[in-house]
Point group: C2
Chain length 229, copies 2
Amino acid sequence: MEPNQQIRIAVDAIVFGYSSQKLYILFIKQKYGEYKDKWVLPGGFVKNDEPLIQAVHRELQEEAGIKVNYLEQLYTFGDDINRDKRFRVISVAYMALVDATHLNLTADTDASAADWFDITSMPVLGYDHEIIVQQAIERLKNKLTYQPIGFDLLPDEFLFSDLENLYMSILNKEIDRRNFRKKLLSFGFIEETDRVSSHKSGRPAKYYRFNVEKYTALQKKGFHFDLMI
Amino acid sequence: MEPNQQIRIAVDAIVFGYSSQKLYILFIKQKYGEYKDKWVLPGGFVKNDEPLIQAVHRELQEEAGIKVNYLEQLYTFGDDINRDKRFRVISVAYMALVDATHLNLTADTDASAADWFDITSMPVLGYDHEIIVQQAIERLKNKLTYQPIGFDLLPDEFLFSDLENLYMSILNKEIDRRNFRKKLLSFGFIEETDRVSSHKSGRPAKYYRFNVEKYTALQKKGFHFDLMI
DNA sequence: TCAAAAGTGTTGAGTTTACACCCATGC
DNA sequence: GCATGGGTGTAAACTCAACACTTTTGA
């Protein structure tokens, strides 16, 4: 009953970032092998004594110097037995969200090796990563409507217009400002701060904050986030 | 860059069956090893050139002689590096649904080795399978409300009361017969047949059928199954 | 004729959608 | 004072939730 398996296990991360009304994904330029100079998802092989989730964090740290706000297992790709030509690889894909402060990669990284791409203008990807990315985008869109993960793509304090634009640009839908605001405020976990924005023109806007404690408290009482946009 | 991995990959299946208002899960009695004589989920190691999904089908066939109506990848358990004492194992869990005609296991199986357990009276399980099972039950409950998978737990032709009882018993909720019927029929993918039930007492009931084609057609037009019970 | 389960409509409450004008600031 | 984006309320349409009696059969 001892298996003689020759299957490698890897993790891949689809890291989403949001900035100026565009959704970005992080890619890494391969340095070696069949896909040299192609862009691929950050990720790599799991170490023998390393939990999967830790492997994801490690790879993101090594390859892009990034710490994420949100990380969730997406799907395990193991049906195409030839996705890597060298040997059979099964890949566990994770979806991660970062806020815009991480969209600068200069700090910890070899700048040429990692970059953000607007999802409307992505490069050709190596392996089967195009498929993985498409699935991740779908998952993100779905999840935005039934879990409050949009806040993980924004800074701690944000304008209501930021939140609204985030939803509109990711879901490609028009949203009525009044109804959107009414609904989100009615939930009771979005709090006004006393900071006020001052940009070039227009009336200054208040900053708001997502109160995680209030959200989890509500959740325990049976509350179910749903934007049904 | 060649990894020297010593990680095994396995699949496990949580197979749900439904009969006389109870939800059942299929377990296998281990014959060897640390968990000898303990009940565990059907599953096993993936072969080198075998797609994951095929491994699941194979194991279900070998261990219980079962073909499923529905199969979906659930989650990959790979964070607890000691879940199997012999070596590190990462397990990809799948959720499967069968209809009640499969609840007899005598045909293809060593009867002592596989059995169905009502989820309210499950045995002690080996490995970390208790956790996996709990997650699967949660997923099933959720999914019942937003995907029409309840039909995969019923025979092709079923009574409306069967469907209603299935939802009530799995979700532990009272359902108003009139509202439930009204809503499901309004979707337009449940069809009346001309078969009529005849049981001991009470007015005979019509059999109904779930029309998959109509459902997928609606789905493409943007329809979204939702029972919000 | 009685017991048992199937079948059927209506009303009030709550939620969602559509919609337009005033406000505060910078230039 | 005007351009720019922020902030606000109301009414109609729709959906959901609650509720009880009639029908058909077998015994």
